[in-house]
């Protein structure tokens, strides 16, 4: 069905090729895992297979990709898109209509399907993906998992032959990941071929029977899913482990403790709910010790990020107290690094970013800043514009900035979402190093691989 033969691609304005002679084939109902470290060419390959060249991607393409004998991109993106559809990493970027039902109708309208036929397809897809109750729901109010399902419903409305998924697991918790896996299994049984590009590999076991690993644009490994093998090969290819991480091995942090100054952060009888929302915490007791890394895990929407915000003084408890060494929680004593790195980088250079943090608006000492960058493996990039860094480098920079000033508590919100195995291991070791300097480190995460890499304790918030 799909034949990719010696495919090479060079982006416009680029010096080197992003893809170098990639070849593989895929039959109906088959599925392939596309792995590789960040920048290895996975997204470029998916974009070409989605037909975005030459209309959208204007670089130089050699070789060929054929779907049932038709060249990729032939007849424009829309025409090719009847056969192959691409789900981007951020599902929200793919919504143009207001509600779930309208989104599917809009997709159909864009392909010329209207009237009762469109209505029937919309109802069928909503039913198939378990979204019937959400038909008139605003797309803004969906959870991450529901957004993924809504996008899948729209993408599969016209029964394509090939579905391409770019980093579908990046923002999903283990529960939604399981749901996504069963939805994809179901689509495979409908005869759809899948190509999944992802850094998290463990959830794809049993879904993708084959894998293709890219390294610097070339095929580095091809074979059955099980061929990934031992740790050394994974490390060399910059991949995460294909083995499911073992949950629940770590002790929880202490609950009620005596009111001494020895704890970096203490939570006593915490009650909290957002206005008009359900109660997230009803009498929580918690103590975090300096020098320890505590992982905060649990299903989406259960209040993990809210607890981190409460611990840093960004939210005020309805009842109870949150304190740092006996003083009320505040941003003077606790530091939080938010999920979106782009929102936290302001200066024209990487060095300037750290000196700003050190000097509170004026210029901080350069040698101290360079020392911090050195510790995070960013010294060689000190003169670069922060926005020109890769995702992993940006994540490390915002953590470095968070640690630039002394703090009793450092809270990190999903620091490894979208990171490859190499960057995951680097981030894990740097979180451990950060804790050695004294603060209590709280890591809010869905990523159980990170928990296993760096946490001393784990607090699992239960589902509702």
């Amino acid at each position: 069905m799909l034949t990719v033969d010696s495919l090479s691609y060079r982006h416009a304005h680029a010096d080197s090729e992003a893809l170098k002679g990639v070849s593989f084939s895929l039959g109906p109902g088959e599925s392939l895992l596309l792995a590789g470290r960040s920048g290895s060419g996975k997204s470029t390959l998916l974009s070409i297979l989605a037909g975005l060249h030459p209309h959208f991607l204007k670089g130089d393409l050699r070789g060929r990709a054929l779907l049932d004998g038709v060249f990729a991109g032939q007849g424009g993106v829309a025409e090719w898109g009847k056969g192959a559809r691409l789900m981007l990493q951020n599902p929200e970027a793919q919504f143009f209509a207001g509600t779930v039902g309208e989104e599917i109708s809009l997709t159909l309208r864009c392909r010329g399907v209207t009237g009762p036929g469109a209505e029937a397809i919309t109802s069928e897809r909503l039913g198939a993906l378990g979204l019937t109750a959400l038909r008139d729901h605003s797309v803004f109010k969906l959870s991450e998992g529901q957004k993924q399902k809504a996008v899948l419903a729209a993408l599969t409305a016209l029964r394509p032959k090939l579905l391409l998924l770019d980093e579908p697991s990046a923002n999903l918790d283990p529960v939604f990941l399981g749901e996504l896996k069963s939805v994809l299994q179901k689509l495979r049984h409908e005869g759809l071929a899948l190509i999944v590009a992802d850094h998290r590999l463990h959830w794809l076991s049993g879904l993708c029977e084959r894998l293709l690993v890219l390294e610097d644009g070339k095929v580095a490994l091809e074979g059955p899913f099980e061929c990934l093998g031992d740790g050394e090969r994974l490390r060399r290819l910059g991949l995460r482990s294909p083995e499911p991480p073992l949950p629940g091995r770590l002790p929880p942090p202490p609950g009620f403790v005596a009111p001494t100054d020895g704890w970096a952060a203490r939570v006593e009888n915490l009650h909290f709910a957002y206005p008009g929302g359900r109660e997230l915490f009803g009498g929580l007791d918690l103590a975090l010790a300096g020098g320890e890394v505590t992982a905060l895990t649990g299903p989406s929407g259960r209040g993990k990020t809210t607890l981190a915000r409460l611990l840093c003084g960004l939210e005020k408890p309805l009842r109870g107290t949150v304190s740092h060494g006996g003083k009320p929680a505040s941003l003077e004593l606790g530091q939080v690094v938010l999920q979106n790195a782009d929102h936290q980088l302001y200066m024209p250079t990487v060095l300037g970013e750290v000196t700003l943090a050190l000097g509170q608006g004026s210029r901080g000492p350069r040698d101290v800043a360079m020392g911090i960058l050195e510790a995070f493996g960013l010294a060689a990039l000190s003169g670069r514009h922060p926005q020109s860094l890769s995702g992993g480098e940006k994540q490390r920079l915002v953590v470095a900035v968070g640690l630039a000033r002394p703090t009793r508590l450092l809270a990190l919100d999903e620091p490894t979402s979208g990171l490859d195995g190499h960057n995951l291991r680097l981030m894990g070791s740097q979180i451990r190093e950060a804790a050695k300097k004294g603060p209590a480190v709280l890591v809010v995460t869905h990523d159980l691989e990170l928990v296993n890499l760096c946490a001393d304790r784990q607090l699992e918030l239960p589902g509702h």
């Binding site: 304005h13 514009h385 926005q387």
Partner: protein, 191 residues
């Protein structure tokens, strides 16, 4: 190969003039201008002179960066058209000023095209935004005069507000030019 002839409907919808990606970019920048304006008004109060200056500065800087990202004749006109239509839909701004503003912006774009066009002379973005925003304000004052012609004293308020916001436009031009340069340096805007 024979060029495909556009149907009247395709021509009216502007097919061939702009690519979908360019239209999406124009829409997104207009959304940012409106969202920033709403946020500043909510934080600082709608009629606060400082808010007026800041709102306009952000607006003109966004347009300068947009013109660096989509350096085409027609970008400014489309951006202004979207902004004005949205003002009409959200706040009932007098619909009568819309055609006048569009004509004014088209005239500014025509002059810029005669001077070599944005793609060849990116610096033209500065006089283009300065001139089109001046036209917008003059037309708004004119339309406001029609609304308060029996009590022209009320026009003084409109003139003061327009003057403050134009000051913001001029300040924002400098910020926008600097930001466009930096984005080119970071590789986020291609030459």
């Amino acid at each position: 190969m024979k060029a495909k002839t556009l149907s009247w409907r395709e021509a009216w919808n502007g097919r061939g003039l702009f690519e979908t990606r360019e239209l999406v970019t124009i829409g997104l920048f207009s959304a940012a201008a409106k969202a920033a304006s709403l946020t500043l008004a909510l934080v600082g109060g709608g009629m606060n002179p400082l808010t007026l200056v800041l709102k306009s500065a952000v607006q003109s800087a966004l347009v300068v960066v947009l013109l660096a990202k989509v350096p085409k004749t027609g970008t400014l006109t489309l951006s202004n058209a979207v902004g004005m239509l949205l003002s009409f839909l959200l706040m009932g701004q007098h619909v009568i000023s819309l055609p006048a503003v569009l004509l004014g912006t088209v005239a500014v774009e025509a002059l810029a095209w005669l001077a070599g066009g944005l793609a060849r002379r990116p610096w033209l973005a500065i006089p283009m935004v300065a001139a089109s925003e001046l036209v917008v304000r003059l037309i708004n004052v004119g339309v406001s005069y029609l609304g308060v012609r029996e009590q022209p004293g009320l026009l003084a308020m409109v003139i003061v507000v327009s003057a403050f916001s134009y000051l913001g436009i001029l300040l924002g031009l400098a910020g926008g030019v600097k930001m466009a340069k930096e984005l080119r340096h970071a590789g986020l805007i291609q030459d």
